[in-house]
Symmetry: C2
Subunit: 911 residues, 2 copies
């Protein structure tokens, strides 16, 4: 007996048995569409009779050099017989002909697969029976010409334009504007001409044998699996090439058989807001493609309730049934043929981030899914949405209604933005910086020398390029909304204007782009940041907190940041960068004085002046973080970051010297000479501090060892603050972190100095707050020797920004504007390692560090405070490495909470 290649829609149980009961495997065998049709049939949803030819048949066909495998033809014929029995119609019967559709349906939907062919079974004989049955000659000839047209272009690959040309001529001849105005005779003539086109292009007559039609269409679906577009897509999306596609053959039903017929599409809940109410569109007396094509204005599905209450009632029940069955919001297609409701397709519905959260939470409350499932159903990117500006929803509706939406491209960087069009980077920068205007930079594509303009702009729009184009990568990098690869966009650099479909927008005029949706609008659409304190979101995140094992802390330098972090759910401060406090205007003079002097007393004086500022900063943080840990990193950057740049000084000096040449008045000369002297003094110091590679130079613990007074001051400030605040009754948990350690001895030396100062302060204050001493792991050697480091460090925190720089030997400042983007465009690097932790390199070092460190100190607190701490993929890795916490920007805390829960739940699923 030959293999079973064909499953009737009611044979899903057999398919399940064959694959071993796994629904994913059923989808693999029958394709997504076929599996869902069979599933609907099983649960008693009315589906027009039909059957699915399996993906295995497709593979066998392709393997055998495009020949049907043994038994396939017989099984198809048999299945057709069953359809005939069920429908009481007969395939090819001139009196009561059965018409069927043929649709591809792979496990995952993908572009490039063969389009649907409808109305298979029509020929010069059977149309007669159809006309007799429907009494509508025009309708039948329209069906017929559609079959010839689809068959010719889709199956036989004749050029679609030839068919379109005939239609244009036919309308002209009949003196009408639209196809709907053509009558039966017109369609009859068109059908004949289509047959001629068919013959001209294929060298053969249009096949009148319904079985031949069906076999050709089925084979065409099989062959389309290796069409170029499909192959390219699978390569890009990482989908295996041996999955094959299934073919679905289904009885035609018609929503255009009069006013007791209709067709429509619907979501079982609102896809924008998530509200639990069916949302959809339909048309009376129409075919499915008319709803999608937008030829006629559709009606809101609520009207169907009034028009066809019985059918709608049944439809509502089916929607509930499908949701309950699939435990997911569904996107369905239906047709009502002479008051009889048929479901043609169901699949999980697409939704906005807000809808995703609301639906997930409400489904838990409806008892439909578990909390774990709800948490897993919302992606971190959807949480991220709540933190980006978006266009006002009503304004978007209005803009679309007005036709202000000009088209769409690739949604490569989320968020919405408006601005005036600027067609080059220099102008974008000038308008943004000098004139304070909001700018959207529009370019055919971007290059490294455009980056300054992109940084100055509110958003980026290009006509070329894909998801890994320079523009896309840079935009994501810097969090700028961007739409790229909008091919309908024409950019005229001579006329300084852009246009879409003839609508011209001059440089300097307003446009708005939606990077989340990939849409372009003319004019200025108002934006809003979605309500973060959305009650459903709060609920979902609180569930996430129950599941996650990773702590979620935040990087915060000021009390206000800490406040925000707390509000977003942070459980500690993972990184307070003490040097940020030095940059404030009232403090800089002291910082510069400290750097400029060689005199120990003057240095001490400057540091003494800084101490109260630092103490107050820390006290503020401790008060906010009452009861929670606060990790304070001692000074990290090289000193010359606090002085002007050498080239700026040289330029300024030159200006002064040129002025001096022109100066006449003695007091002016004196003044200039004094200025020159001062600048030269600073220049000398800057030169003496100059480093070829400051990133690898005198900074972090190296600076602290070199100028111990500096860190002693910082430790004093921390402990004076901690003691003072503790006396106020606040529960303080300071943790002192040493940056840039590469050798354990650095830690040893620093610990001695710092512990001594801490002890001194605590004795002075008469109180001993609990504290920890630890280090950043941001140098490969520190990771490699973490066992040695753990002898001294009570905690470690991965500084993955620097660790990535040193592990890759890449200077981030330089690379992200140059070769790194090139590498990502050319896919030399699969991901930007500064966005997502590089597992093989940096991740390997992290794993080693945690293992070696905890082997020595089992309870060692291990965290991450690099920017990766807010990236979901990196958080997954941190979970796998069993870190204590991730620390990220306060704005990323909600995303991190969800991502951490996902990581933990994935473990559960695996178990």
């Amino acid at each position: 007996m030959s293999k079973k290649w064909v499953y009737f829609f009611d044979e899903v149980a057999k398919a399940e048995e064959y694959v071993g009961g796994d629904w994913e495997k059923v989808r693999g065998l029958l394709g997504g569409k076929g599996a869902n049709l069979a599933e609907m049939e099983r649960i008693g949803v009315p589906v027009p009779p039909g059957y699915t030819v399996t993906t295995e048949a497709c593979n066998a066909y392709l393997d055998a050099g495009e020949t049907y495998p043994e038994g396939l033809n017989e099984q198809m014929l048999e299945s057709l017989k069953t359809v005939e029995t069920k429908t009481g119609k007969k395939f090819g019967d001139p009196q009561n002909p059965l018409l069927v559709s043929c649709r591809s349906g792979a496990k995952f939907s993908m572009p490039g697969m063969m389009d649907t062919v409808l109305n298979i079974g029509l020929n010069d004989e059977t149309i007669k029976g159809m006309i007799a049955l429907t009494g509508d000659e025009r309708f039948v000839y329209d069906l017929y010409r559609r079959l010839i047209q689809m068959f010719g272009s889709v199956v036989m690959l004749a050029p679609g334009e030839d068919f379109e040309e005939v239609l244009t001529e036919a309308r002209a001849k009949a003196g009408v504007e639209t196809d709907t105005e053509l009558n039966a005779e017109d369609w009859k003539a068109v059908a004949e001409e289509f047959k001629a086109i068919f013959k001209r292009h294929t060298g053969r007559d249009f096949p009148t044998d319904p079985y031949e039609q069906l076999n050709l269409a089925t084979a065409a679906v099989f062959k389309s699996w290796f069409g170029k577009r499909a192959v390219d897509y699978r390569n890009a999306a990482g989908i295996a090439h041996d999955l094959g596609t299934a073919v679905n053959i289904q009885t035609m039903v018609f929503g255009n058989l009069g006013n007791d017929s209709a067709t429509g599409v619907a979501l079982t809940r609102n896809g924008t807001t998530g509200e639990h109410r069916i949302e959809g569109d339909y048309l009376m007396n129409a075919q499915g493609e008319d709803v999608v094509a937008g030829i006629r204005l559709t009606e809101d599905i609520n009207k169907l309730k009034e028009e066809m209450p019985a059918a709608y009632g049944e439809f509502e029940q089916i929607c509930q049934k499908l949701e309950k069955h699939y435990r997911e919001m569904q996107d369905v297609e239906f047709t009502i043929e002479k008051n009889k409701l048929w479901m043609l397709q169901t699949r999980d519905g697409k939704r906005t981030a807000q809808a995703a959260v609301r639906i997930a939470v409400e489904m838990v409350e409806e008892g439909m899914i578990t909390r774990e499932e709800a948490v897993m159903r919302v992606t971190p990117a959807q949480i991220d949405f709540f933190l980006h500006p978006q266009f006002d929803r009503e304004a978007v509706k209005a803009a679309k209604a007005k036709g202000d939406m000009l088209g769409s491209g690739l949604n490569v960087s989320p968020g919405a933005a408006f601005g005036v069009v600027a067609l080059d980077a220099d102008l974008a920068e000038k308008w943004a910086k000098e004139e304070g205007r909001d700018v959207i930079m529009v370019r055919p594509e971007t290059r490294p020398d455009d980056v300054h303009g992109m940084l100055a702009a509110q958003g980026i729009l290009t006509s070329r390029g894909g998801r890994t184009s320079h523009a896309a990568l840079v935009a994501r990098q810097f969090g700028k909304p961007a739409v790229v690869g909008m091919s309908a966009l024409e950019i005229d650099l001579d006329k300084r204007q852009i246009s879409v479909g003839g609508l011209v927008i001059k440089e300097g005029e307003w446009i708005s782009i939606d990077g989340t949706e990939g849409e372009l609008y003319t004019g200025k659409l108002p934006t809003e940041v979605p309500e973060f304190e959305d009650p459903e979101l709060m609920k979902l995140l609180s569930w996430a907190d129950e599941f996650r094992k990773l702590g979620v802390w935040a990087n915060a330098d000021y009390p206000a940041d800490a406040q925000r972090a707390l509000k977003y759910g942070a459980e500690g401060i993972g990184l307070c960068r003490t040097e940020h406090m030095f940059f404030e205007a009232e403090r800089m003079p002291f910082v510069q004085k400290m750097i400029m002097t060689d005199n120990a007393d003057e240095r001490k004086e400057a540091l003494d002046a800084l101490l109260p500022f630092q103490r107050e900063d820390f006290a503020g943080l401790f008060r906010v973080m009452d009861g929670l840990p606060v990790i304070i990193r001692l000074i990290d950057p090289p000193l010359n970051e606090f002085l002007p740049s050498e080239s700026d000084l040289l330029r300024e000096l030159c200006d002064l010297k040129l002025q001096l040449k022109d100066a006449g008045a003695p007091e002016e000369i004196d003044k200039l000479q004094k200025q020159i002297e001062d600048k030269e003094l600073i220049l000398k110091r800057v030169e003496s501090l100059h480093e070829t590679n400051p990133m690898l130079g005198m900074r972090g613990v190296r600076l602290a060892i070199h100028i111990p007074e500096l860190t002693t001051m910082q430790v004093r400030a921390i402990f004076e603050a901690a003691c003072t605040v503790a006396k106020e009754g606040v529960d303080v948990h300071p943790e002192i972190m040493i940056p840039l350690t590469s050798h354990v001895n650095e830690l040893k030396v620093q610990q001695e100095v710092l512990e001594a100062e801490a002890k001194k302060v605590m004795e002075e204050q008469g109180i001993e707050p609990h504290y920890k001493f630890g280090t950043m792991i941001e140098i490969p050697r520190a990771a490699i020797t973490c066992d040695q480091i753990a002898e001294y460090a009570q905690f470690i925190s991965f500084g993955t920004n620097d660790l990535t720089q040193t592990t890759f030997g890449i200077s981030r400042d330089d690379a992200e504007a140059s070769f790194l983007i090139e590498y990502l465009e050319r896919e030399i690097l699969p991901e930007n390692p500064f966005a997502v932790i590089d597992r093989d390199g940096v991740g390997f070092l992290m794993e080693m560090a945690v293992k070696k460190g905890r082997a020595v100190r089992p309870d060692m607190e291990c965290g991450i405070c690099g920017e990766h701490g807010g990236d979901p993929e990196s958080i997954q890795l941190c979970h796998e490495l069993d870190l204590t916490y991730v620390s990220c920007s306060p704005f990323r805390v909600p995303v991190a909470r969800l991502a951490a829960a996902h990581a933990a739940l994935r473990d559960k699923i695996k178990d």
Copy 2:
């Protein structure tokens, strides 16, 4: 029965049995001195009778709170009895008293241990017997006062100055200049006064009981094991504190009993040249300490042959015997007492590098040692000596004779140098750079701001600081001869002069320093580079080549370098830095043109002009290295290294602008304006190429991927050269090396481009030389993912300079002038990781890379081309990691050959 604490000199067999036959353990038990005395006794060399108290007795004494362990006293008394029997004298016998010496003798000699006490056994009674026996009252009272003096100062720790004061007074009273002029009565009076000093300081009488003298001296030796200097030394040298010291008690013999007595020291071969002839000094009628102290002018040992032919004949035979027995050149002490020769000590002799090589080689030829032993006996540092300038030997002799040697300090950086004294860094730099003078920079100590002067100087001399002082570290770093910590040196910065012992040298006058020996001379001593092609050295290195497993290759950029490398024994070129070729005057314009242009055609034109230069360079290398591999690294540095610096340009521009202000003539104005324009163009390019951290920027493979034409040109040049030279009949083995890989995809992308070009050239040329494709491993990520890299790379080469920079996060350029030196001074880092591979960090990564790489490609060639390739300790690591070869500067090749042999032989020893 109590433990055996005491071994008579003839009981070495028992000691061996006790420790299990291992000579090292015998030395551990009896100490170096005791073991050698016993060994001499065993082989029939005349040694004054005596015994050794073991190190175990010392430990037991110290463990028991400074109490003799059970049995020790009895065993000592018994041993004394044996000595009495052997000598026919009796300890404490007024008629025929036995006198003994008491000397410490640990396994390793170290400072701070108790000095020798001679003449134990003398007291007011026994001196009478001695006078009767020798008939020399003066001699005996001299012995007596020496005992009291040594006992008082060494055992009882009375201040030595007090004794010296008495001597001074005695000389004054007697109206004489030297001690030798004092008579018996004088010494008698001195002895009495010494007794008074003794009593004053110790509160007790000088012990007249010989047994008490002996016990006190023995206990003092034991106690000195934990003296501060000894403990400090052991800590620094890594010697265990539980070894303990032995005590040697030996019958006194006297070389000062008339003209049939003598005493001397000798080396069994010449310690300077290695010549196989006894070399030594002696004094007739004198005591050993007189020879060492230099109070009297010693005679050459050859004269002894004439003076006492019989004794000398015996001495010669003993020397031969000792050499044969120890299989090493010996350093011996002897005394002839009334024509009877006694050997007092033997130990391995110190020697110069040249002597070490010659002795090792000749001993093999004499059948005394194996080739393996000969190779192990010469240190890599001794080979290094052959490559540094040294003072002419005759000139040194003459200078010493003339008194031009002013003194010595620490020999911290080898080599000899002369120059005029410069007392600060700026002056040193000015004289050296502007006036082309040879300069020795002299400072009390150096600091980071002195480095520019040190670099300009020929050598460095300081009055303060130790082996890890800034001056020592920097000098070694840059290969400058240096003597530091010369405390006798006075530096007067006001008078601008230095002085030693009253001799004044003005700034600007000549001095010479020997960093190998640590010596300072006045005047200009001629230097010479020792003959590298020393036949013994050649022989030794050829033996080393037989034993080593590591290949030794050289880093060479030009044919002349390759020639030298071959001469020194290199077996391949491990690194040819192609960009070095770009820096030559005739090529720079093309290189700069290539960088300055944005136009592809112009760039190609510039590259086409460079191609023939590169081709000729490579052809030359291939011809020299006929039959051997040549690894050519494609361009590595960032492009801005080929352009002037930004600050230089800014300064030059400012000068031009200031000139323009003053310019009058229109043609001058035109000219200046043109110059300004040109400079501004270059400045713009320099700014656009500017990188914050160029070390981590657009260089290496990143540059190659960005400008593929550049590396395509290089590959074409390599293959055109290889094909051309191969057609000449030369056996070429090019290996193309990609620098700075951090991700396997970089290699993949480059390999495609480069293989294509190589194939094209080989097709054009009609010949296919064998070649390899590989990469540097100089980024941590490359080491970590070496399994992935091995899929593409046929070979890897560790660029340990950059790998150290990235693994530590240290920029070498910046660090070696700043915190790295501070770290070494403060011992935060145990070694300079740029000199010796850091095992824990960089070594760990190397090991992982080799293992992962060879797991994928078992025959992968793995080498090292960083500067560590010439460092013996690093070579040991490379051997352990089973690298294929080390590649180093041609000058380091001989050192590497020996070090590699050592590493291999150490394995054999372990087996």
